[in-house]
Amino acid sequence: MPGIEHLLAALTPINILLALSGVVAGTVIGSLPGLTATMAVAVLVPITFSMDPTAALIMMGAIYTGAIYGGAYSAILLNTPGTPSAIATTFDGFPMARKGQGDLAITLACIASVTGGLVGATFLLMLAPPLAEIALAFGPVEYFWLAMFGLTLISALSEGNILRGLIGACFGLLLASIGIAEISADVRFTFGSQVLLGGIETVTALIGLYCIPVLIDLVATPDRHLKVTHKPRGFRFLEALGLAWKTKFSLLRSSVVGTIVGILPGAGGSIAGLVAYSEARRTSKNRDNFGKGEPEGVLATESANNATVGGGFIPTLVLGIPGTPPDAVILGALLVQGIRTGPSLFTEKASIVFTFIYGLYLATCLMLPVGLVIGRYAYQTIVTVPKALLVPTVAFMTLIGTYAIRNSISDMMIMVVLGVIGWTLNRFGFSPSPIVLGLILGRIAEQGFVQAWTIGAATGELWKMFFGRPISLVILAFILLSVFYPLIRSRFRKTTGEAGNVE
């Protein structure tokens, strides 16, 4: 292992303490919808000025890792991703919790996050400079196709209801284009309103579309929020470990997917989770159980989103191009510390870089005990707290969390209104997930498309631009596979005499 001599430097008591407190703080912050890893790291920057650069880096890395994991709690227990990275965790995590398996889901998320985190950190340690090339090889057109690949999940999320799913996605894509356009700077779809100029903030929409409907349904009936099927059974760690072992290849693949998507500066944890989920579902033996509380779904997304932490640091440290928004904050803090990123960082400032990477390992390992303990506590609280306290607490959390994203009161109103729209649509068969997919992928798809089109038209190679680049073709192949695999499979089943489950 490169830089192994720096392992000991990472393992000083003070660093261990910093990593531990970072993971705890990050986990708590990540679990609160609206509080993002970016914000947590940004608040910390001034403290790090008076710290040794490596200690500062370790602490920021630990907070970041913890926050990405913490997002799973609210995704599983409240159907609300605490961070955008945990969107796909809601697909199976919340159904599991409803069935009374919330504790198992949280332990699974913890194991997956640690696995993903370790895989991501290992790639960062071993292969950072060559892997950074991926960040550059991905051009506008590749981002466009990647977004399209993400959208193919709609067919999975709205089985038997594809038209509704597609309409929902279009709705989300239109919502994404409200406000001042990110690249063309035009004002779109505000219909004269000042409030909409800033567009619909993604996290705001996530909280509204996912959490408000849960609240609306919670107050309507005296039923418990989550079913309790058993007496508390500890962490259910071995059971979860067994499940993880059974899907070890899927787990590893999701971690690798997460790392690679993390390297892409324009993508991020939410897309990593969605792509990994989509792939896990396609290849799983239990594919029909996905979306209904399938443990493998939770494992796939949670390993992928934590792998983006290590992955995101690759372009940040090697190229000086931040992989994710928290990376951008950390990059700023590094510059203030007088550390200039670049290919030579790994040789010239080897001690800082390698100590940091080992610190990341340390934080990831600490996440296992920390995550299990906090997770169990969170589960117990949500399950036992009376409805009359749960509803107002969650509601208040959504309000203050939404406000904190951009310090905006209008965002809170947008959040509630979107929640009502989401609830109403859901009642008539339009589930919120396609809308969210449209919202998240819309901006990436549009930018990629417009840029690719402009470049392609300028160089006179429009066709080649969209269909003639190797990486694009690979993604395109996966898109076709995702769309047509179910058809092929059911046809295959029919010919072999088995009963196919065609709609």
Binding site: T38, M39, A42, V43, V45, P46, F49, A135, L136, A137, F138, G139, P140, G179, I180, E182, I183, S184, A185, D186, V187, G192, Q194, L197, G198, G199, E201, P265, G266, P315, L319, G320, I321, P322, P325, D327, A328, V329, L331, G332, A333, L335, V336, R340, G342, P343, S344, R406, N407, S408, Q447, V450, Q451, T454, I455, A457, A458, T459, G460
Partner: protein, 320 residues
């Protein structure tokens, strides 16, 4: 003497009234942490400069500058809300030119240039044409010659539309009599990634790109009056016969309700940080060019820049 005293008393009274109850004494300003809002996401030039200022502020005044991000609409979301913040000097916001001039001129973005009370402009990043190290374009003339033969074929990445990069591209095309294609990206980081990945032939970027990516890029020319001290080998457009001096200017604004005296204080603080030799060295090393326009000089500066930028934008058909 007596008059001055009267004026000061009146000012203090006015300031007390205008901030309503919460007693602000200019004498001990700053006596608490300052909220510094960046109307962009993290990682851009505005953010990195703010981080440098944060460290020096802490050193000089013992308080923190708390940086928060309020991205959206190329900064417009933040600026539209600037005057709704509390005007006590403890709330300040980063401002950028040409954004605050061109955005309201193009359409209704919720604020006008006059709505923004700038107190200091502290630096600017000159525009520059950047190519990858292995590019076939060794000089600006190579690029212009190629572009003349192949109209619209040369693609430039750049940060956003209606920005300094975009304006520079349009103006340069006109000056050189060429036609190139501008591809807008979301921020400098994405534009640089597109350049390094050979998605585009060149980038309309800033001198700061030349500094942060020194190992992998080459600048063909910078849009400055004189050569940048960090890049003595890179010619200016002027030297090469194009009268192009442009860039993105950055500064600090306060809400309109901020009392006069506090505005001056904030201006002094930023000025003091800007005067620190260590700070200057850091920023120059990052490829920025320092600027010292204080509260008094701001109106004249903005008037002059407005004239230049609006004219350029009109010529380039960005605004009517």
């Amino acid at each position: 003497m007596k008059n001055t005293l009267l004026v000061v008393t009146a000012m203090v009274l006015v300031s007390i009234v205008s901030v309503g109850g919460s007693l602000v004494l200019a004498d001990d300003f700053p006596s608490q942490n300052i909220n510094y809002v960046i109307p962009f996401g993290p990682g851009g030039e505005s953010d990195i400069t703010a981080r440098h200022q944060q460290a020096f502020f802490k050193k000089m005044y013992g308080h923190d500058m708390i940086i928060s991000y309020k991205p959206g609409g190329g900064g417009a979301v933040g600026w539209a809300q600037l005057n709704k913040m509390k005007g006590d000097g403890y709330n300040i916001m980063g401002i950028n030119l040409p954004h605050i001039i061109l955005q309201p001129a193009e359409k209704d973005v919720g604020f006008t240039t006059e709505d923004i009370t700038g107190v200091y402009m502290f630096h600017y990043t000159p525009d520059a044409i950047v190519v990858a190290k292995d590019s076939e374009f060794k000089t600006l003339e190579d690029l212009v010659a190629y572009a003349k033969e192949n109209p619209a074929k040369v693609t430039f990445s750049g940060s956003g539309k209606g920005t300094s990069n975009h304006l520079a591209q349009l103006r340069f095309d006109k000056m050189a009599g060429i036609k190139t294609t501008y591809v807008a990206f979301k921020g400098t980081g994405a534009a640089v990634a597109a350049l390094l990945g050979n998605q585009v032939a060149a980038e309309w970027g800033y001198t700061s790109v030349g500094a942060s990516q020194a190992e992998s890029v080459r600048m063909l020319a910078v849009a400055m009056d004189k050569r940048h001290p960090k890049f003595p080998d890179v010619p200016t457009f002027k030297e090469l016969g194009y009268d192009l001096v442009s860039g993105a200017f950055r500064g600090i604004a306060v809400p309109k309700s901020t009392p006069e005296e506090i505005r001056v204080k904030v201006s002094d603080i930023i000025g003091k940080i800007n005067a620190d030799p260590e700070f200057r060295a850091l920023l120059e090393n990052d490829g920025m060019a320092l600027l010292d326009v204080d509260y008094k000089g701001y109106p004249a500066f903005i008037a002059e820049q407005s004239k230049v930028m609006l004219e350029a934008a009109r010529e380039a058909n960005i605004i009517k």
